[in-house]
């Protein structure tokens, strides 16, 4: 019995340590965002300041361009998520259900795109997009993000489609549906969790992307919020309070999104993992 107690204590202690480790930066973000400027340096290492205020949030929302960045990020991320979800479900379905010439090569190519560092592609990408008028534009970012996320999302969707028995579709075909009808009425409703998971994954990836957003778009009109965060770094000082407040605000859409799809996500991930 004591052995059992020891086991479970160690179990929870380790879990607790891990959670602490993972969430501490988040806690620090919120703590700094709530600390008034005059206490920021004097009480910098205290776990909680003696006085809190929302002044940083107020400033960020009213006196900075943050709402614009926020709006840009929202547009770019959700458009990317929807685009990639559509493309990857169509491609994933094809990879899962049809056999065609060059399929293994296609999959290999898709994997290869995931293998090298994106930094290498910044310069050629800029040269490619500039003449097309797609730099300093949200459309350009959506195209770039969609292109980079689609291969992985396609492989993810393929595994979701693979988990749905072929017979369901065949039953629908025999019941009198067309191939597309079977996809829409039978397969799609069953893959919704997978599509939601894929969409969530792509949304967060686009939401937090900095490299391309910084390199392709220099005008504030077309900047997303990760780039906006950098604007709190000035030549002589860093406005930590405002930066953290902006960061906290930026967490909201991602959190909301995951609360909304959470139910699907858990089901989706298990559906993809366990076949049958």
């Amino acid at each position: 019995m004591p052995r059992r107690i020891f086991y479970w204590s160690a179990h929870y202690l380790l879990l607790g340590l891990y959670v602490l480790f993972a969430l501490f930066p988040l806690f620090w973000l919120i703590k700094v965002a709530l600390t008034p400027n005059d206490l920021l340096y004097s009480q910098g290492i205290r776990l909680w300041p003696s006085r809190t205020s929302l002044e940083h949030f107020r400033f960020v929302l009213t006196h900075s361009e943050f709402p614009l960045f926020f709006r840009n990020s929202l547009i770019v991320s959700s458009t990317t998520a929807v685009t990639v979800a559509l493309i990857s479900s169509a491609c994933g379905y094809a990879l899962s259900r049809f056999s065609f010439r060059g399929k293994p090569l296609l999959v290999a190519l898709m994997l290869i795109t995931q293998m090298f560092p994106l930094v290498m592609l910044v310069a050629p990408m800029f040269r490619l997009l500039a003449p097309l008028g797609l730099t300093n534009s949200l459309t350009g970012l959506v195209i770039v993000y969609s292109a980079f996320n689609a291969p992985f999302a396609t492989l993810l969707m393929q595994s979701f489609f693979d988990a749905i028995p072929k017979e369901l579709e065949e039953a629908a075909l025999i019941d009198g549906a067309t191939r597309f009808g079977a996809f829409r009425r039978v397969i799609l409703p069953l893959t919704l969790p997978g599509i939601a998971a894929t969409g969530g994954f792509v949304f967060t990836a686009a939401w937090s992307e900095l490299l391309f957003a910084l390199m392709l778009n220099s005008s504030p009109q077309a900047s997303t919020f990760p780039v906006g965060l950098l604007s709190f770094v000035s030549k002589f000082s860093v406005d930590f309070g405002q930066m953290m407040a902006a960061g906290v605000l930026a967490l909201i859409p991602a959190c909301l999104f995951f609360v909304l799809i959470q139910r699907y996500l858990v089901r989706g991930l298990t559906a993809g993992a366990v076949k049958g």
Binding site: E170, A171, I174, D175, G176, V186
Partner: protein, 365 residues
């Protein structure tokens, strides 16, 4: 109800042929069972009739109309899958209504059809449930319901009972037979279970290696198997087989085995010294009296009767008897193999018949 005609149908995957020029005519209202070991091509043939698998060569007609290149929806057939393939996100009623709605049946029409099917299959109280909340037997029934609501030209069954436990399987087997009697629907049923084949079929099509081995009524296949494959596949416990040479002893046609010989009651007109395989069903071996002496290796009482494992001159035999004989393991028992019960197969494995009829694989396939 429509007849189904299959003419010279083949299936190849790349260079591998899995079905070789199958020809089969199923009469309207007939219940035909395709039976064979796994990989014999029976499911592929069924899926080709359904339109789920492309036909490499040959023609399929349903009700006289060529359907070889038509999609499944244009063939007006219903299919029951081994995995049932119920739509998990739809209720039982919606599962059954799906095909009717696709055919733009009126709301009242859908309701009447579903209610009729629900009454017939005892699904009345389950209509609002999702498939996930049903037992295996209930799912099976819903799958049947989905097939019958539409009154299709033909029913196709792909091992529909394999996922059920033995007792339920027996029960559903009887229900399928009853349903077929009521609806009179043309049915093609695939199974690897020879008992299912024997009990359900009007006619059995025994398949092996992509070839039709024999077509006939269940008793025809049981009593006069066309070749060694059918002889070994149909019947449980399986037919006993042993090698023997054909010879004339004192003018009488005789089968000579290493340890014994059996006189025949007819002359099969074979060459002297022809190598044969002799088959006899376990229930046709007579125990307790006879000219041959065998040793009892094992006794399996089934309640109904007894299966005795015997060794006769080095050859293992199984005998089935309804009589409750006092058999002791290791003891000797007299056996007899009446010549009228023997099946003879030549070196190619084809039945050697008593002259008149030759129903070998080659003449049929």
């Amino acid at each position: 109800m429509s007849a189904i005609d299959i003419t010279g149908v083949s299936k190849r995957y790349g260079t591998t042929a899995v079905l070789h020029e199958i020809t089969l005519a199923v009469a309207a209202g007939e219940f035909v069972v395709l039976v064979g070991p796994s990989g014999c091509g029976k499911s592929t043939l069924l899926r080709m009739i359904a339109g789920l698998e492309e036909v490499s060569a040959g023609e399929i007609r349903i009700g006289g109309r060529p359907v070889t290149n038509l999609p499944p929806k244009a063939r007006d057939i219903a299919m029951v899958f081994q995995s049932y393939a119920l739509y998990p996100h739809m209720s039982v009623a919606d599962n059954m209504a799906y095909s009717l709605r696709l055919r733009r049946t009126s709301k009242e029409g859908v309701e009447t059809a579903i209610n009729a099917a629900a009454v017939k299959l005892g699904l009345g109280s389950l209509l609002e449930r999702k498939p996930g909340a049903l037992s295996g037997g209930q799912r099976q029934r819903v799958a049947m319901g989905r097939a019958i609501v539409r009154r299709p030209k033909a029913f196709l069954f792909d091992e529909p009972l394999s996922n059920l436990d033995a007792r339920l399987r027996e029960h559903m087997r009887a229900e399928i037979k009853k349903l077929h009697r009521e609806l009179g629907a043309t049915s093609i049923y695939v199974t690897h279970d020879q008992i299912e084949a024997m009990t359900l079929a009007d006619r059995i099509v025994a398949m092996n290696g992509g070839h039709v081995q024999q077509v006939g009524s269940p008793l025809e296949l049981y009593d006069r198997p066309a070749n060694l494959f059918v002889a070994g596949f149909i019947g449980s416990p399986a037919m006993n087989m042993f090698p023997a040479l054909f010879s004339h002893c004192q003018g009488r046609p005789t089968l000579v085995h290493a340890g014994f010989s059996l006189a025949l009651d007819h002359d099969p007109a074979l060459a002297e010294g022809a190598a044969l395989t002799v088959g006899i069903r376990p229930e046709h071996i007579l125990l307790g009296a006879g000219p041959l002496q065998s040793v009892v290796d094992l006794v399996e009482p089934t309640g109904l009767g007894t299966i005795a494992h015997l060794t006769l001159a080095g050859t293992a035999l199984r005998a089935f008897t309804l009589a409750r004989l006092p058999l002791t393991i290791g003891a000797c028992v007299a056996v007899d193999m009446p010549p009228c019960r023997l099946h003879l197969f030549d070196a190619d494995g084809d039945r050697v018949d008593r002259g008149t009829r030759e129903i070998g694989a080659r003449t049929l396939a």
